[in-house]
Symmetry: D3
Amino acid sequence: MPTATPIEYADASPEVRVVYDDIMATRKIDWINNFWKVLAHHPPTLRRTWQSIKEIMAPGALDPLVKEMLYIAVSVTNNCEYCIASHTAAARKAGMTDAQLAELLAVVGMANESNRLANGYRVEVDERFK
Amino acid sequence: MPTATPIEYADASPEVRVVYDDIMATRKIDWINNFWKVLAHHPPTLRRTWQSIKEIMAPGALDPLVKEMLYIAVSVTNNCEYCIASHTAAARKAGMTDAQLAELLAVVGMANESNRLANGYRVEVDERFK
Amino acid sequence: MPTATPIEYADASPEVRVVYDDIMATRKIDWINNFWKVLAHHPPTLRRTWQSIKEIMAPGALDPLVKEMLYIAVSVTNNCEYCIASHTAAARKAGMTDAQLAELLAVVGMANESNRLANGYRVEVDERFK
Amino acid sequence: MPTATPIEYADASPEVRVVYDDIMATRKIDWINNFWKVLAHHPPTLRRTWQSIKEIMAPGALDPLVKEMLYIAVSVTNNCEYCIASHTAAARKAGMTDAQLAELLAVVGMANESNRLANGYRVEVDERFK
Amino acid sequence: MPTATPIEYADASPEVRVVYDDIMATRKIDWINNFWKVLAHHPPTLRRTWQSIKEIMAPGALDPLVKEMLYIAVSVTNNCEYCIASHTAAARKAGMTDAQLAELLAVVGMANESNRLANGYRVEVDERFK
Amino acid sequence: MPTATPIEYADASPEVRVVYDDIMATRKIDWINNFWKVLAHHPPTLRRTWQSIKEIMAPGALDPLVKEMLYIAVSVTNNCEYCIASHTAAARKAGMTDAQLAELLAVVGMANESNRLANGYRVEVDERFK
């Protein structure tokens, strides 16, 4: 059981519905996933989090698929099950192939390994990288 | 001071030089960074780590710049200073602009935030994401 | 299935019962949660962990509710499901409101985000903060 | 050397100065710390991060000192040196005593320990905590 | 549901079967655990990961049981449920007793605690340890 | 600069000296490292932390060198610089060779990698491991 039960659209306050409507319009979908329905218990967090994610994940210098893959890389490193599941789904919807996911996870695994080799040997940063 | 001092090319054994030569040839550079010069204290780790990174970071379903950015995302999440410095340099060499770095870090920050909101509220994975 | 099954009071050795009794007396409750019932497989760990938590979580310069909230902040950052569930329950029992939990999680999320922005940009510590 | 050098007020664009001015006014200080001066390289991140922190750290259901202490708890768990230094300074300015800091760090240490005991023994969440 | 369903031996390609056969021969077992059956979706990752683990976990300067215990220490710190379960089973098979597991987890817990005390107090590295 | 300056023996209170004396007697050394000299600012934390470490790191079902290596594994995974430096020194004093350190770090790196592969593919725990 989650700490807070999801708030469905039918039960949501007007200020929550404004956010739900914007999520569905922005993403061109007709449903709201549990993350938002749980944040709805604290409308300021719901609003602020959605505004930030909407702005950050929009196309810009990086395309949306690359952004979704970065999201997966962080979520896998932190082992956030909900986030791995939801962003893997989002990345697939944005066109990620099985081969791309496999390479992404290979890089994430390798980076986590070499991070610890660098830490464990206490490697000094090269002058050229400073 | 690092746990192990870097081993320079001039002081390296033949089996270490083989790896150093391959790193320089593969990356089209004429120097070796400290990470490899420290791993050289244990040639099996040097050889295996280089072979893995060489294979994983090669062009494939994802292009090398995207792979470098994924590497940064993991290293920032783990706060590995050496890795952040070296892979930021590598990504810039591969063409990453300041705007791309800024967006990358914005996504990494946001993902670390929403990972904790999902954890803290113990959000259940939606049926559609399972 | 846990690595070790919980040891119930009826099946516990005298040295384990002494700890169970002290937990119930200190917390003014009539049951023992699974964390302690699993640690009971190694009585030295059970005793030492309980003594430390009893001392650390007692009222002092910080009040017990603030301490429970700090516990949640760490557990959410580490994504320890058991600890999030048990300390959220403990904090609520100590008076934490829904609004307080929401603000706590907002701070935890934001701190995890800004930690990575500071790491990723490798921000130097200001002289005034040293 | 940081990835990006701090941008001083004198060198900042008008949109950056607006944020700097608001930071100084809100916090009743006459200087800007490096975190913001580095984020200034990407004004959307500067603006959004400041707006979020300003909203989240304002007095509400939790008082500002408790919020600063939660920030320290997360930063210590993640080992973000910049964040530990800056938020320890901020908490002290908000009235945190040495005794409070010591108890805070004792709780953070203990929580990180018991998180791993719960993980390692794979303790099942009690029915009462679900 | 996992992101990728396990690939059984009967359904595996010849290049995957070569790895499965080597895993079973090396470990003297007659089954393959899910980790490998999922990596089988990307044969280069399956092959490389197995070769690395086979080389790293072989008897050397450290005996295999110590290596399995180090694996548990990392997996518990990262809270990787699959890895905790599988390496606890492997360590037990290699002879780990309940008392050894209990001491291992006590060390892991304590190390996670003292890591944060060192971080939080920003303890400077002693000259003798540099 | 650390958050708290180390307290030297000459400046320590009697209750702190009791702990310093026990550390030196137990470890058969004639100096105190910074970790304890900083904890001395809060005598209850100094006393409790030392008692716990003394009990946990004593010979038992695992020998002290294995315990020091487990400590390194955790500290490298968390990237606690102080702890990596001090426990690498302690392990070497307890007899750890360069080859053992190299294998230890190889296992730690690999475990951090495979933890993320297991997370990222969301591998289900095998029935036999439950």
